[in-house]
């Protein structure tokens, strides 16, 4: 370890240090605001030190990490999304009457786990990242532990995530037994090109196990069953975190593990992920139609969105990675924004999650409903929002390597998906009888929440109108 090696992992150090600092602060003096500020400082420091992380040429830290433009880009994305969750959580947790400060420690640790996933280059760091992320999430999901629903969701996630982790671990063991290596950049090409039939059975079994585990973490069909329940049961800021940072980190690891090269439609990997993409797009969009809970609708919608991203992942070179990254950015913004609106309207144990709660929101809280509409429009992929450009880029990546079946499924299923987005939108604009008044009390929301939502909306429209700078950034960082 020389100073140069240390400087490239400064963002990781900042995150870890911030987590420890918050923990120590709790030991000395409990202060919610101080813990919050300290967390933000840690996240800001991680962002500020990003330039050291990608100084130009890729900087491997053998054997565990690989620090390059890709790692820096995803670190930035994940840390920013995490900061969004923190800012939203501030107002939400203030209404929570038990210990609140540890929340931030856990959140920082989970973020660190996601960042390690993006920078990992070894099975050990991959597993370390996954576990750091998952274990923090068990606690985060069940954080307001006096409410049964949260605890139930936490236990559900605990069991399923533990099972999926053991799948991943077993898969790694099989692959290691066969290849004798745990370095991802060495194994990746072998796995990637493995044919559908006649491959090495040990390797195939290992690959299958890892795909199951990753599928669980991403929440794609048929490993999606936990998604709606955990989305619904977790406190909203944590749901936002699960939907963005957790899934984003695993997706970053997936792209590391199987770097999209030239498309190989006869490989076993293509077959498996193609099938999962189609199943996710169709099932996610169709099942969302049946929901009456906004959090569950967003859960199924996120299943579908992960399916869309898998299409670009499979499309491979030259646009696959940048399309996935750009789409992930737009998905982060819209998802954080959508859950952000729910967050500012909710408190622990008092969440505004039924679609009926949102009837006529536009006439009661026009700004909030406007923000929510913008996010929903972006998820639906309509113009002037980031989601429009993102979806366009995905379809472009798919058409570019002639994945006609996947593209057609994407188009048709997202049309089905429009229907429930329209339903949510329409709910905001239902005319309410003037005398009825709001169905339930809606709290005045915090300044940090309002500013976050404003910033997210600005980003959403900026990316929808002027995506060129971000395109440029993504392309220079990845290549």
């Amino acid at each position: 370890m020389n100073p140069a090696d240390l400087s490239v992992i400064l963002p990781l150090i900042c995150l870890g240090a911030a987590a420890i600092a918050v923990m120590l602060l709790v030991a000395v003096h409990r202060s919610y605001v101080a813990a919050f500020v300290l967390t933000l400082i840690g996240l800001a420091a991680a962002i500020a030190t990003l330039p050291w992380m990608a100084p130009g040429a890729p900087h491997p830290l053998p054997p565990l990490l690989m620090l390059d433009g890709y790692a820096a880009l995803y670190t930035g994305l994940l840390v920013l999304a995490s900061a969004g969750s923190v800012l939203l959580a501030f107002g939400y947790l203030r209404k929570y009457e038990s210990n609140r400060e540890e929340f931030f420690t856990l959140l920082l640790l989970a973020t660190l786990g996601a960042v390690v996933l993006a920078a990992g280059n070894h099975f050990a760091s991959f597993f370390l990242g996954i576990e750091l992320l998952s274990i923090s999430l068990y606690a985060l999901i069940a954080y307001p532990h006096k409410t049964d629903a949260h605890t139930e969701a936490g236990v559900k996630y605990l069991i399923l995530a533990a099972v999926s982790s053991s799948f991943i671990l077993f898969g790694m063991a099989l692959i290691y037994a066969d290849t004798g290596s745990m370095a991802i950049d060495r194994i990746g090409p072998t796995l990637h090109g493995m044919p559908l039939q006649g491959g090495d059975p040990w390797l195939l079994a290992g690959l299958a196990m890892m795909v199951v585990g990753i599928g669980f973490k991403l929440g794609v069909v048929p490993f999606h069953l936990w998604t709606p329940d955990v989305y619904q049961g977790a406190p909203v800021p944590v749901t936002a975190f699960v939907a963005t940072v957790s899934k984003g980190g695993v997706l970053a690891a997936l792209l590391r593990l199987f770097p999209p090269g030239d498309i190989q439609t006869d490989s076993s990997l293509f077959f498996v992920f193609g099938a999962m993409a189609i199943a996710s797009m169709v099932a996610g969009n169709v099942l969302a139609l049946l929901q009456n809970n906004v959090k569950r609708i967003l859960a199924y919608s996120s299943i579908a969105h992960l399916g869309y991203m898998l299409v670009a992942f499979l499309a491979g070179r030259p646009r696959g990675v940048s399309a996935v990254t750009f789409y992930l950015t737009t998905y982060f913004i819209s998802t954080l924004g959508a859950f952000g609106v729910i967050t500012v309207l909710s408190g622990p144990g008092n969440e505004m999650e039924s679609i009926d709660d949102y009837r006529g929101l536009f006439w009661r809280r026009p700004w909030l409903a406007g923000v929510f509409s913008a996010m929903v429009l972006s998820l639906a992929g309509l113009p002037l929002t980031a989601g429009f450009i993102g979806k366009f880029y995905l379809i472009m990546a798919g058409v570019g390597t002639t994945l006609w079946t996947l593209v057609i499924v994407l188009v048709l299923s997202s049309t089905i998906g429009l229907y429930y987005y329209l339903r949510v939108l329409f709910t905001f604009f239902v005319k309410q009888p003037e005398s009825a008044g709001p169905a339930r009390s809606e709290p005045a929301f915090s300044l940090s929440g309002a500013l976050t939502l404003a910033a997210l909306t600005f980003l959403l429209i900026w990316l929808g109108v002027m995506p060129a700078p971000i395109f440029g950034l993504i392309q220079t960082m990845i290549h």
Partner: protein, 519 residues
């Protein structure tokens, strides 16, 4: 830059209307009116200034937008675009006027949606970068959805969702086709771009061309609408508020026709020629089917909606006949159908505002109480049935004249549409304004505002019926250019395909002139 302003003014007006609407419910309509009047004045001044211009475009603006993907902000107007933009501004004013007293709640948001829909439509007529075109194509949907879903009639949510899903699904198919063209062009030339001018003349294998052409065609056929893609239209038109129906009928349907003219045939001339018989059959079926459906309706708005299917069939017929006469007819039909059907929807809206029903069985004998509305309705019904002397006659007649050279049997079938349109037009008059006034209606006659609206539209439709030549002179260079583009890339195809044979331009113009001057 003028082209950008034509879009910026309604966009800014919409935002202003929304902001002002939060404090005051009357300002938004004045803002909306002012924005559309400014748009119209800008457009008209621009048209007069450039009428003698000889370049390919009257004006263009090209800025980099997403250079990494070859996307530019490329707006350009030729005479065809400009005529449609003027129609948009004019019908925008009429739509604002027709909503003046009808929309009383949430006016700010209403006029915001109205102006943004108009801005999107204007953008569609001007965009020549295929990505930008798709952007505007999608942009006009959302405000239209809100207009129907919030301010519509009884069954509005169903109608709005159906409208949205139909157009969105077909729009995504078009996007896939656009991308397909982009990659084929990029691979063959090394230049990846969405620029229309560069994509013209891309060499495609016949099979690829046919698939890509179908992607575009379906999107435009849904908007037009042509049977069997029409089923959203009766619902959307019927449930929308008056201003929404006016925009749908007068403008939104025209974006489909414009797309066929500007993109489908020039980009895929060979595939379009091969597909032309099918398209013309669809057109003939639409003409007859729309008219027959109209005969069976008792809801006045639905009746008029079905007549749109029938009349837009003529446009489809004219475009795929693809000779000068038919194209001139199609353009004329686009303009006149916009005006006459817009006027009919305004009249029905005004009637509904007064007697709170659209049911033909409950109307009757209104002429004696509302003579002014009766006269206006009579005039536009006559326009709709294609009475010589009014604009629609010129359009439909020229389409049939041109289509006859392409396919005589289909022209015969299509001209049967004239018979049915007479029946339903006369029927509308007879069942609303004549006969006994069984329910004892005593509604007030047209107000000064409504009379003024009708007067403007009447003058226009009569002018187009008596002196259509200025319009033809204005758009002829654009049509000639489209024909040259389409012909340029398939010299060998013309001999054995009479449908697409280029006609000598000069030979037929005097006919048009005479037809116009001696109605």
């Amino acid at each position: 830059m003028i082209l950008a302003w034509l879009i910026i003014v309604p966009v800014a007006g919409g935002l202003l209307a929304w902001l002002l609407g939060r404090t005051n419910s009357t300002w938004p309509k004045w803002v909306a009116l002012a924005a559309m009047v400014i748009d119209l004045v800008m457009g008209v001044l621009f048209a007069f200034e450039r009428v003698e211009s000889t370049g390919p475009w009257l004006a263009e603006i090209q800025l980099p937008w997403i250079p990494q993907l070859g996307i530019g902000f490329f707006l350009a107007a030729d005479a065809l675009s400009l005529v449609l933009v003027l129609l948009t501004a004019l019908m925008g004013i009429m739509a604002v006027a027709s909503a003046w007293t009808e929309i009383n709640e949430r006016t700010g948001f209403f006029y915001f949606n109205l102006l943004w829909a108009l801005a999107g439509i204007t953008g569609v007529f001007l965009a020549l970068d295929l990505f930008l075109f798709y952007f505007f194509w999608e942009l006009m949907l959302v405000p239209m959805y809100f207009i129907i879903a919030i301010w519509g009639h009884e069954n509005r949510v169903y109608a709005a969702s159906k409208f949205f899903l139909f157009t969105q699904a077909s729009g995504l198919l078009m996007l896939v086709a656009i991308l397909g063209l982009y990659f084929v062009h990029g691979r063959s030339s090394g230049v990846y771009t969405f620029n229309y001018m560069q994509l013209l003349g891309t060499s495609l294998s016949p099979v690829t061309a046919m698939w890509l052409m179908l992607g575009f065609f379906i999107a435009f056929a849904v908007k037009l609408p042509a049977v069997p893609f029409h089923s959203w239209l009766p619902d959307a038109h019927t449930e929308a508020p008056t201003a929404g129906s006016v925009i749908l009928a007068a403008l939104l349907l025209k974006t489909g026709a414009y797309g066929l003219l500007r993109f489908v045939v020039p980009l895929f001339p060979a595939a379009a020629a091969e597909f032309a018989p099918v398209a013309m059959i669809l057109a003939a079926v639409s003409i007859i089917y729309g008219a027959l459906q109209a005969l069976g309706q008792t809801d006045l708005k639905k009746l008029i909606a079905y007549t749109s299917v029938s009349h837009m069939g003529f446009v489809l017929l004219g475009i795929f006949a693809w000779n000068r006469l038919a194209l001139q007819g199609a353009v004329m039909q686009i303009i006149c159908h916009g005006i006459s059907t817009g006027a009919l929807f305004i009249l029905v809206g005004a009637l509904q505002e007064r007697i709170h029903t659209r049911d033909l069985n409950r109307m009757g004998g209104l002429w004696s109480v509302m003579p002014r509305m009766g006269v206006a309705m009579m005039l536009f019904c006559m326009a709709s049935l294609g009475l010589p002397g009014l604009g629609n006659f010129i359009g439909e007649f020229l389409v049939l004249l041109g289509a006859f050279r392409a396919s005589a049997p289909l022209t015969v079938v299509a001209s049967l549409g004239f018979v049915t349109s007479c029946v339903y037009s006369v029927w509308i008059m007879q069942r609303t304004f004549h006969g006994p006034n069984r329910e004892g209606w005593k509604p007030p006659d047209l107000s000064i505002r409504e009379t003024a609206v009708m007067a403007v539209m009447t003058i226009l439709i009569v002018w187009l019926g008596l002196f259509p030549q200025p319009v033809f002179t204005f758009v002829n260079p654009s049509l000639a250019r489209l024909e040259r583009i389409a012909a340029g890339s398939r010299p060998a195809m013309q001999i054995d395909r009479p449908i697409t044979a280029a006609l000598p331009i000069q030979a037929f113009e005097p006919v048009v002139a005479q037809r116009g001057e001696r109605p």
